[in-house]
């Protein structure tokens, strides 16, 4: 478990390949998005799959606490107006486009990381902070992001990227709000990264 620079500075250790030029990466990302739109009629997404899995797990955990599968129908998750949208009907809640895409993202990310010699257990953090601070902020950031993403009905992938390319009004509002919220807070957390 090493800090990023330390792993890459060791001349004897594996040297990761440099990242792609941003415009090349952006153009290819755009082509993947275009393909998703015109072939399937859907775009790209990341938070939707996690939300679905979380709703499903909430129901399962609740049911096991309250007495097995027979309790599934009466769980909070089943009655809750938000989670029930994933849990009603006879279909398997995990048999979903975004869930399969999620699995693909893991495979693609892992393949790229391995091929570029970048896959290794490590913590990424700034030069003037500690691992403990980084992990505490990472978990808080995840918690806060989850609230934002559900209120906005999507994250950077489903709203900013896909909604941006399809010119959806609300997605552009979301995108500018993300940059606004981010820059408003960035100054106060600068010591974590600079």
């Amino acid at each position: 478990m090493a800090r990023e620079e330390e792993t890459s500075d060791k001349s004897a250790a594996v040297v990761p390949e440099p990242y792609w030029n941003s415009y090349k990466a952006g153009a290819l990302l755009g082509l993947v998005l275009l393909l998703a739109l015109v072939v399937t009629g859907r775009g790209l997404g990341a938070s939707g799959a996690v939300t679905r899995m979380a709703a499903y797990s909430t129901q399962k955990v609740e049911a096991s606490v309250h007495g097995g599968t027979s309790a599934e129908e009466t769980t909070f998750a089943k009655r809750n107006a938000y989670t029930s949208q994933y849990l009603k009907g006879p279909e398997d809640p995990l048999d979903d486009f975004l869930v399969y895409m999620f699995v693909g993202v893991i495979v693609g990310g892992f393949a790229s990381g391995v091929l570029a010699k970048r896959a290794s257990l490590s913590v990424t953090f700034g030069p003037h902070t500690t691992v403990a601070r980084r992990l505490a902020l990472a978990s808080l950031g995840g918690f806060v992001s989850a609230f934002g993403t559900r209120l906005a009905r999507g994250c950077t992938s489903g709203q900013a990227l896909t909604g941006g390319a399809t010119l959806a009004l609300g997605s552009w509002v979301f995108m500018f709000a993300v940059f606004g919220g981010g820059y408003a807070l960035a100054y106060f957390l600068r010591k974590e990264w600079l």
Binding site: A25, L28, V32, L37, S157, L167, A168, L169, G170
Partner: protein
Amino acid sequence: MDPMMPVSKLAEWSQGSVIASAALLGVGFGFVLERAGFGNAKTLAGQWYGYNFAVLRVMFTAIVVAMVGLFGLYYLGLVDLGQIYINETFLWPQLVGGLIFGAGFVIGQYCPGTAVVACATGKIDAMIYMLGFVLGLVAFFFAFPKLESFYMSSSKGRVLLPDALHVSTGLIVLGVVVMALGAFAFTHFLDKKLGKSAGGEV
């Protein structure tokens, strides 16, 4: 010529085709995100602290390519826009959700997609981010009864920028391209000014 894309509604696809197409698109998505440097919180933090503008460059390039491709194919009569999923607009929830999401981004220095890719390449901070994300989701589920009226407020339906701004689609597409080029130029200006190198390196 009749539009030939999308092939048909996803709901009419066989399960195998849905799995294969979604998984393959996901592989491409994950691969490119990792190559762009987005599986690394330092790349992402660079956007907020001015030492690496990969986030803006990659995102706006992707949006421009997909947008020009989509609306270009539409003008050629090859795509039926009515069959493409367009996010519905809920103005206030998306504005407030975006502000909160932006704050979460800066606190955690990941967003869901980039965190998944970072997890896949062994970043422990990304795994912790995902843990916080799942806890946040569960908290949202339980808070939903109180949030529901706001969540459903200012519903505008399927609104595109051209409708909202009363400008032709072609002009909006051109405007987005010009805005993206302007933003790219600005980031290169900042690179020069701040003495940082361009490109995706961290």
